[in-house]
Amino acid sequence: MQTKETIVCRCEDITLDEIKSLISQGYRTIDEIKRVIRAGMGPCQGRTCRMLIAQELAKVCGIPVGEVLMPTFRAPVKPVKLGTFAGGE
């Protein structure tokens, strides 16, 4: 696979190559990778990249994808305006 051209996190433009590089440097959870490179911090909140990164981690760690530590799921599911939360809209 063309890892340099394969986008894993579409919101933040993170490639598979960058993810693999961080895993090889010793970053071992989705949360750690997110904090260093912003994967999963965009508007979709990791709905696409979360599982793709989990797959890569599972391969390297030799564990089932289901055992990769998931970040917590928190509101809002979709971006919502501050004005809406404030009750103004």
Partner: protein, 382 residues
């Protein structure tokens, strides 16, 4: 994992990593940092990331002032391969009540006595700095251009890499299960990966510092308090400084990435370890933020999170050796502003532990102050 060490640091947040670096750069060998999860997984990685010198107590102001100088040159000093993203857009502290303004004036007098270049502004002048500021009812504002914010993940990463190059070992996903003492001295740290014999332990566990001290038979006067934050979608740069309103309990900054990060303090927050995010927070912070900065009502929230302040009775940290367990030091109780003072706090602690001359008196941060009732009460905490 190794069986012996000269120093065991518990906690892989900003304090633990910075102290590890400052000890190692002063020639201490064989240092191990124990972290329950991954580096900056606790309060550091959840903080508001602000760096301000506008404090009301001299202690906080000195630590922050000198830490700003360290942040300014940190990429070079620590030879960091990324960027700590230190942006000095200033802090604008806005005041909507006369009482608050009177307190701000006292704070500014403290800051000026220490050479911190804070300016006192009229509402009009404040609006020139932040054009979307609500000046309805605004009494005045204080502004310090050299305040700012940095990326906590990268600051920790920078200290981690620099300390690693100096030989410091980091044991992540490792929990401390006990502290052994003999004749009033600490002798060993028990962990989920085995015991490490050591004559020196530094407890840099933030909100968990009390739990660690209990293992050594000592009760710390600290308590955890949840604070929540949110981040919006990124937009073009439009707000230079961090805006703080103690009256509205709000802080709000625009990061170099373009997103806005903001939080409010909740006076009714119970003293416990809960770090779940709540919908009540989203409504509360949205109301306060759109009151102080009405333009932000159009920004979309993408994520919220929470973390724990390690509150001390006077909102100043504890930097001291535990009398019941010699060799065990506490560096905790930063009460929500540990990140910004960490660089120089780490220097102060390293100097004290190594018997070097301290750049400021460390005794002010002693445990004794609570027993004597001589608190260093900090009036400027959100």
């Amino acid at each position: 994992m190794q069986k012996q060490a000269n120093v065991v640091i518990i906690g892989g947040g900003i304090i633990g990593c910075a102290v590890a670096y400052e000890l190692a750069i002063r020639g201490v060998k064989d240092i191990v940092v124990i972290e329950k999860q991954y580096l900056s997984s606790g309060a550091t990685g959840r903080c508001g990331a602000g760096v301000r010198q506008q404090w009301g107590t001299e202690t906080n102001a000195i630590l922050a002032r000198d830490s700003v100088r360290r942040f300014e040159g940190m990429n070079e000093e620590l030879e960091y391969d990324r960027d700590i993203e230190f942006k000095q857009g200033g802090y604008l502290m806005v005041s909507y009540t006369q009482n608050e303004w009177n307190q701000y004036k006292k704070n500014v007098a403290v800051q000026h006595s220490l050479g911190i270049p804070t300016k006192m502004l009229t509402p009009q002048e404040a609006m020139e700095i932040v054009p979307h500021l609500n000046i309805n009812g605004l009494v005045g504002a204080t502004f310090c251009q050299t305040d700012g914010h940095a990326n906590p993940f990268h600051v920790v990463d920078a200290y981690f890499k620099a300390a690693s190059r100096l030989g410091v070992k980091f044991e992540t996903y490792t929990s401390v299960t006990g502290i052994k003492r003999e004749k009033g001295k600490v002798t060993s740290v028990q962990t989920t990966k085995g015991d490490i014999d050591t004559p020196l332990v530094i407890n840099a566990c933030g909100y968990a510092a009390g739990t660690i001290c209990e293992m050594a038979g000592f009760e710390l006067p600290l308590y955890p308090q949840r604070h929540q934050a949110l981040v919006t979608e990124p937009v073009e740069p439009c707000q230079g400084p961090m805006v703080i309103s103690l009256h509205y309990r709000l802080y709000c900054q625009q990061t170099p990435h373009g997103s806005f990060i903001m939080g409010v303090g909740d006076p009714h927050e119970p003293k416990d370890f809960n770090i779940n995010s709540s919908w009540e927070f989203l409504e509360d912070v949205a109301r306060q933020a759109t009151t102080v900065l009405p333009l932000l009502k159009n920004l979309r929230v993408v994520r919220q999170w929470s973390g724990l302040y390690d509150m001390s009775p006077d909102a100043n940290p504890i930097l001291d050796e535990i009398p019941e367990a010699k060799g065990m030091w506490v560096a905790a109780g930063f009460s929500g502003h540990g990140f910004m003072v960490a660089p120089q706090t780490a220097v102060l602690l390293a100097q004290k532990i190594l018997g070097q001359e301290c750049f400021m008196p460390i005794e002010r941060f002693g445990l004794d102050r609570f027993r004597r009732g001589e608190l260093l009460l900090e009036p400027a905490v959100v």
